[in-house]
Structure formats: C-alpha cells, structure tokens
Homo-oligomer: 347 residues x 2
Amino acid sequence: MSAIADVARIAGVSKSTASRALSGRGYVSDATRERVVQAATDIGYVVSSNAASLVTGQTRNVGVVIPYVNRWFFAEVLDGIESTLIGAGYDLTLYRLSSDAEQRRRIFDYFLVRKRVDAVIAVGIELTAHEVDQLRSLGKPIVGLGGAIDGIPTLNIDDVEAARLATTHLISLGHRRIMHLGGDQEEQMDFRVHAQRLAGFRLALADSALERFGSFRAVPFSIPGGYTMALQVLADPRLRPTAIVAGCDEIAIGVIIAARQLGIQVPSQLSIVGIDGHDLSPMFGLTTLEQFPARQGAMAANVVLDRLSGHAEEPIDNRITMPVAFAVRTSTTAPPADDSAGDAVAV
Amino acid sequence: MSAIADVARIAGVSKSTASRALSGRGYVSDATRERVVQAATDIGYVVSSNAASLVTGQTRNVGVVIPYVNRWFFAEVLDGIESTLIGAGYDLTLYRLSSDAEQRRRIFDYFLVRKRVDAVIAVGIELTAHEVDQLRSLGKPIVGLGGAIDGIPTLNIDDVEAARLATTHLISLGHRRIMHLGGDQEEQMDFRVHAQRLAGFRLALADSALERFGSFRAVPFSIPGGYTMALQVLADPRLRPTAIVAGCDEIAIGVIIAARQLGIQVPSQLSIVGIDGHDLSPMFGLTTLEQFPARQGAMAANVVLDRLSGHAEEPIDNRITMPVAFAVRTSTTAPPADDSAGDAVAV
DNA sequence: GAAAAATATGGAACCGGTTCCATATCGCCG
DNA sequence: CGGCGATATGGAACCGGTTCCATATTTTTC
C-alpha cells in the first residue's frame, strides 16, 4: 500500500532522503528527519523487508534447524536462541529436521539456500560436508550446537567428561557395582551423545580398575524409558547395582520413580546420578551434572550475531566447550555397608 | 550471485520466458522449459524469495506467536504447526511473546506487520482488538488456538466442559470430598484456561448439589507445583479429600508422586483425574481427559493454509471446538468405604 | 578569505524476480 | 484460404526499497 515514496511526498523530500531518514544511515538534517518520521507515523508506514533485503542482501533472519521442539533439551535451547535473536532485532525461522533424508534435502536445497536467512544454527544435527559447503559458499555463518561439525564453530559440553565425572562421583562414594542406563546407540542423534556418555562411564570405571563391576543397559532417552528398564533391573537382586549412572536426567527420574515403587530407598539402598540439569531434577533430589541448554542457545545465537556484525572473523574451525556444574543433591550417598560386590554383567 | 537473467542467457531465452518456465505459470513449450530447467540446475540457481515476494506480495511464510516453547502443550502445538506448514511449502517464523507489553508491541509493530508473513497463528495469546485490526487491515489471515478471539477463527477445546466431565467422572464413582488443584487465577495465560477449568469443576459439583464438599487450591501449572501442594494438602487428614481434579496432567502427576511418597494408595485411598493427555500420563496410570495439541496445531495450520489458498472465504468469526477423549486408567476408583464426607473447605 | 571537508539533498540505477502487453507462429474451422 | 483462438516468446514496466553519484550548502582549517 503505502510505500516510502508516499512518505517522501508527504514530507516533501526525495525517496533517497526519506530512506536515509528512516534507516538512519547517511546524512540527514534533524529537521528533515523529524518531518519524514512524522509523515511515516502518520500514514502507518512500515518498510517492506523484502524490498530492503533484496538490495541489501540481508534478511535479519536466522534459520534454526533442530530435530525436536518437544523435548526438554531442545525446547530450552530454542528458547535461549529465540530470546537472544529477538533482542537483537532478528527473526527466527524454524526448521524441524526429521530423519527423513528426502525432507532434509528439500529443506536445505529449497528453504535455507533461498536467501531467506542470513545465518543458520544447527542444533543436534550433524551437517554433511555438502550441506556445510552449500551454506558456506553463500557466505552464511553457521554455528553448530550439541556436537562437533567439521569446519564450523560449534558449542557443546564435553559429554565424555560429564559422564566420567558423574561416574567418578559414585566411585569416590565407594560404589563398585555401577550400572549405566544410557541411550540406545542405534537411536542416537547425529551427535554421538549416547556413545560419548557411555565412553565417559567406561573411562571412569577403567580409571579405578572397576571395569568388571560395571554394566550397561540401553533405554529410550525419556522418563518412561528409565522407569520401565529400572522396574526390570531393580527387581532382580542379581542384576541390581548399588548405583546407577543415567544417560540423562529423564532416565534418572524414571529410575527414581521405579525405585520408590519397588520400595527401594534412594539413596541408602541405591544411588542415582543424572546428566543434564532437568527442571524436574530438584524436585526429585537428583544429583546431576547440569548443563544449561538455554544459555547454550543464547551463546550460539550470540556467536552467530557476532559473525553477522562482522566483528569476529571466522576462524574456520573452533570449538567452544560449554561449562557444566555438578549439583549434588540427595540421590547419592555411600553404598550399603553389606554390599559384597557380587558378580555383575561386564560392560 | 546467479540470477534468473543468467539462466535465461544460458538457455538462450528471455528473462520472462525463464521465469515462466521455472515458476510454471504461463505458456512455455516443453522443449524450452527443459532447456531452462537444465540451465538452472547447471548453475545451481535458486530463486530469491525476496525478489519474488516483492512483486507477488506473498512470502510463503507464516508467523507463529506463542508464549512458551518449553512447555508440553505449546511444544506439541508448535510441532503440529511446523509439520503441516513445511509439508505445504511454507516457512514458520517463531515469535515467543513474553508478557512484557513493550516487547509485545514491538513484535507486532515491527516484526509481524513488516510484510514478512502471509498469516499469523496466535497460540495461547489473546490478541487485542487493535492487534487484530492491524493484521486484518493488511489482509493477513489470523487463526487463534487455545481460546476465543473476537473476530477471527479460533480453535480450542471446551475447557469448562473438560473439567466438568473429569469432575463428574469422580462424582459418579461416588466421591464427594473432591478437591481441585488448578492454576492460579493471577498467573493464567491470556485465555482463561484456569478460570474455565475451575468453572467446570464447580459446575459439576453444582449439578450434583455437592458444592459444599468441594475445595480449591491454586498451584503452579507444573509437576513440582502439584507435588508441593499435594504434600501439604494430603498430609493433613482434615484437608485430605478422597479425590482430586487436577487442572492439568502435570499437576496430577505431581500429586501422584506426592501421594506415593506419603504412602497414600492411588486409587484406593485417593483418586486423581487430570486434563490434557500428557506424554507421561500413561506411565502413571493417570485417568485424564486427553486433548491433542499436535493435532490442534496441525488443524490451525490447515485453516490458515485454506485461507491463504483462497478456498475458504473468511466467515469472520467461527469457533472450532476440538475433540477430547476420556482416557480412563488406574488412578480413579470408588472412594474408600469408610469415608464420612467430613467437613471440607467450601469452594 | 580561499580551500578543503563535512553535511544535506535529489536523481537515477539497481536488487531479482513477475507480469502485462505486443508480436509471432501455428492449428483448426467454416 | 482468411480468420480466430491457442500457444510461445520477448520487451519493458514494476514491486519498494537502498545506494552511488552529482550537486549544493555549510562548516572548518590554515
């Protein structure tokens, strides 16, 4: 409807002056600017971002590709990204990438490249070299979150170390028969989170020469996943460990619920440690290694914004390791005195 | 870089013919189309959606305003919307609307109106008349989800009826001392979900002339919210009801966890019914009135797409009531035989 | 006080497509 | 076989801004 030409006419200036007055770049006298702004307000003028983007080549829009929006970690990350972007005047276009390869290709070829976004944040998605090249050749900053991607800056926690720390905590309390309920290797995300946490678990055991006391069960990365497996594992005295390292807090919470149901005291009869710092963890007194996904999202957004503002020159390949915090609550303590470190399934 | 002009040159045709060949509208001979498409593929041409939008006035982008992304209901809705839009070739731009009035105004004035979106889906947000007018005057379809907004199509479940049904279920099982743990009226969303569910609860009691046996406590709409309050309420024999109607499944789950902790048998000593159909509800055997937020999101997206394709003429003001389903599980049964319907705090 | 620099403004080109209009060719009908 | 409608294509205008360049005015500098 109303174009900048209308504003210019009403204010009695040229299009170019009106543009300068409204966008704030270039010389405009105060008096003129005032008249233009007034005219714009009067007729309810808003710039067409399409027209602006067409000539500037910038959309002030960041694409976020993410595998889930309805899982705690990803929802938190998304929240953090959104807040940061909106604060900087950027829009966020959401692409929930399913595992369908065809759909994934379409999103890349058809949506992302379409000059609709200035940059891309890939959350929990391992981009292929081709995908990275595609974006890079368009000069669009890319940042990965949740794991390493070759050739682009990525942020993530050290999952191996996290699991190692959690496990070491139990070992230092005196536990030996420790079980890891972690994610199924088959079902894991692009980034090898499940594998890495399992590796950290094994590493800790190896450090204390306790490999033969450790065991591992694969479960879905959810509360019901932990719950269901725990009902089986805890009910069987031969299988029952004195402590469990959960692959994530959801699993840990499921275990706690199952333990309570089975009448097993936590932590006196069973210690449980989680990884993540889920919202529900404090309520269950869960000792856990907290990461802060919302902050990670905000940080990823900030890295992207830095790149976009041209401040940071792209150092091709840098990894930022995000901090974690160990929250010791009431789900872990020393093992029962009568524990005799019986036979356990070897890892 | 490579514009349609390049494609045209390589294919040996004019810009206009190239445009017709690629966009599929207007006459182009098969042979020519083939050459153009080949040329486009060769040089990796993708249309500039900005340029296209500028002239067509369509962005193939839908804005979603939503108060949270990290809460179950909203995350599910978002998921449903996203799947549907991407399937139809539309982008989704996410605006997480905080309660900050200033930020909200900015998002409307600055982002949404900026000709960046073809339509808006407002989830759990009550748009003001001014906001509706703004969008409407731009000819952009708007659809609300989660409650009624004057003048635009909205989808939502009948929250009064949902709570009434849940409560009636308990009454028909023989319960009289029924407590409602619902959302705080002060803290509720724009749509009066909390108030409506409370109203439905009272309606059911009134239907059976049981008002004086009912009671109400306000809690945060979360698992810890239900848990914390339940610990207080259930511990006090004078307060303890024989059944609880939770304002949402999260609260109900919190109550179940608290009850187990206090050694109160569910359902034999305490029946609990929820509203929502949360992912975790089956695991807790929670009887609940299920709604299906992902489907609601998909439906909202479809309504918007219909409007955009021009099929459905805008009938100004229609409300679509979404279906719910009563999932009876193991958290509800008849009250203990010895219940003497003691004095309860009146509603 | 003249030259240089900074400020202010307008005109026109341009971003990369789509679409209207004009022109040309072709097939088919009476 | 003249004429009409369908098909095919090119030229040019246009969408709504931004920005380069030229010109004019003011301010600063020596």
